[in-house]
């Protein structure tokens, strides 16, 4: 396939067309922060962390959903981008109830790591402290909406990879919630196969196994793409 020329952060590259800016940058080892992206799943551009500047376009574009084009001039590290990444991260923390010190995910959390990355030292927005449910009804797993950032990785992995479509999204704005089946307790789901893929896909301490306590959590989000690739091989 013919490669196309692009300029990323003032350097010229020849890259595959039909790929997203994010895919291209990952291959070139150019760092782009992401949260809703998980390799192997359809990208939806929900979290707005992967924003890049493209010359000639005034608004910032999400790298995970924008395809490269010939002669594109892309910038990934501008002050403007950093400012928005910082705002987005702060809003994640202000939106629900994150108490890392007592969280099962502490030390192994993608959101926490993002906080370190953007050098989060305070949150300028008022915390909303919503009353969120902890769904403990599943025999093996817990769904704690307090720690959910609405990346919908669980929704997509359940639908696209497991094919069960237990998870979905309900409401809008601050009321938005992940739901099981038609907003019934997870333990009563008629679609969930208890495969645990959502647990591995979830970047935070929102979905976790009942059998463990803080310090024992091992998530393997890379497993999702491995499964997807192996299935392709069989076909």
């Amino acid at each position: 396939m013919n490669k196309i020329p692009v300029i990323i952060d003032d350097k010229s590259f020849e890259v595959d067309p039909h790929k997203t800016i994010l895919e291209v940058c990952r291959e070139l080892d150019i760092e782009i922060l992401t949260m809703c992206h998980l390799k192997g799943l359809t990208d939806i551009g929900a979290c707005r962390l992967c924003l890049v500047e493209v010359e000639g376009i005034n608004k910032l574009l999400s790298a995970c959903t924008t395809k490269v084009a010939a002669n594109m001039v892309i910038k990934t590290q501008t002050e403007r981008i950093k400012k928005y990444q910082r705002i987005t991260t702060e809003l994640f923390f202000a939106d629900r109830n994150h108490v890392c010190a007592v969280c099962v995910s502490n030390g192994k959390c993608e959101l926490q790591n993002l906080g370190y990355k953007v050098e989060l030292d305070r949150i300028r927005y008022p915390h909303l402290f919503p009353q969120c449910e902890v769904d403990t009804s599943h025999p093996w797993y817990v769904m704690d909406h307090n720690r959910c950032i609405m990346c919908t990785r669980c929704v997509r992995v359940c639908n696209e990879v497991e094919g069960a479509h237990n998870w979905d999204v309900m409401n809008r704005g601050h009321q938005v919630r992940i739901i099981s089946d038609f907003n019934t307790p997870w333990g009563e789901s008629s679609t969930c196969t208890s495969c645990g893929k959502c647990l591995h896909a979830c970047p935070t301490g929102a979905i976790w196994p009942k059998a463990i306590v803080q310090g024992q959590l091992e998530k393997n989000p890379g497993m999702v793409n491995e499964l997807v690739e192996r299935r392709k091989m069989k076909l």
Partner: protein, 476 residues
Amino acid sequence: MDKRKIFISPVTRIEGHANITIELDDNGNVSDALFHVNEFRGFEKFCEGRMYTEMPTITPRICGICPTSHTLASVKACEMIQGIQPTYTANLLRRLMHIGQNLSSHALSFFHLSSPDFLLGYDSDPAKRNILGIAEKFPDIAVRGIRLRKFGQELSERITGKKIHIMGIVPGGMAYPLTEENRKALLEWIPEAIETVQLGINIIKKFHEDNPEMVASFANSPTLYLGTVGPGGEHELYDGKLRFMDGDGIILQDQLDPAKYLDFIAERSVNWSYLKYPYYKPYGFDKGFYRVGPLARLNVCSRMKTPLAQEEFEKFKHMSGGKPVHGTFYYHYTRLIEALSDVEDAERILNDPEVTSLHIQHHGRWNYAEGIGSSEAPRGTLFHHYKTDETGKLLKVNLLIATGQNNPSMNRSVLEVAKQYVKGDDIKEGMLNRVESTIRCYDPCLSCSTHALGQMPMVIEVRDRKGELVKRVERN
């Protein structure tokens, strides 16, 4: 005489201060004293709705000094819910961590917070009456005190990788094994630690000898005592049954299952403190208050488990002809006897061939809706009580902490001081220091009492029979 009500308005409570109200009768004589505990942080309430398995992570945050005791009480409650027992090795490692915490806490209490009073004198310059003052005049003692605390912290660090706010103690056992390298490194501390504790014992005994009147005058009235003992009545911190003793040394109840604590302990809320008032149920609220902690543990137990501590224990028992010792001042001495036993016991455990075994965790899942766990925190017996629904979600949490159980006695001790030092609006010189050292004896886990430098911040209010403020003294 009709009892009037006192309302302590929120503004008079100062976070991080010891807040005390002294009540006068019509003749201006002290009739009561209340030590207010402000640091209630709503733990019981906000744990409801969470998974019971999160409690071992959440509850150690209650206190920075005794996190291990909270975790232990918590994992025991979880194990009761799961219906499982920890492995033999896990029990050894938990004991080591518990010893580590007890040692650091006792070292902090004695060497950092209290030894300045004993070595420099109660009347010495308050600016210097702290661990830095000790470092100036008795550098060896200061360094030893700091190192003893370090040994305690290393016990938990070398097992779980963290000094405080431990991870690693999990329902069913432990998350990490002890390596041979760490076992050896810990053993090397033993001789020095024993020497340091013995040095502390000499300091406190000399103080007893030099100041017999002062020591004797410290709140000295009998109370009941509660502590954990082993199957033979021996001193126990980690796992055992409970023993209640009365002020004359009569064992009221023995080998009580901590899981049945509600059969013998009742709690009453009072309107002037955030802590609940526990009392020994058979004796009722007025007569049933009891003390916990090192003094109580040494009063109730029949013997120590290790030789050097046993030797010292016999001397302690001899002081009162085998009867319980009531003097609040002896908390310090008993803390050190415990520390000695801690170090000896650590040595025994570290030499157990099973201590480095990899069989450290049993696995379980929710089986029962209720779990109760207890352990001996440095300050006394601690109970965690959880009730869950059938998915493991917490419906109700009750935490009975050591400082809460000592609170009624702390009030009484403060009252005894107040009677000596207060008449009407006249507060005698030295009252504040005296109240401070009384509170220190109990080593309560409140922010006011853990100010390592300078004096304990304090607010004392004297109120007349109608509740009108007669005098207010504040020390920052």
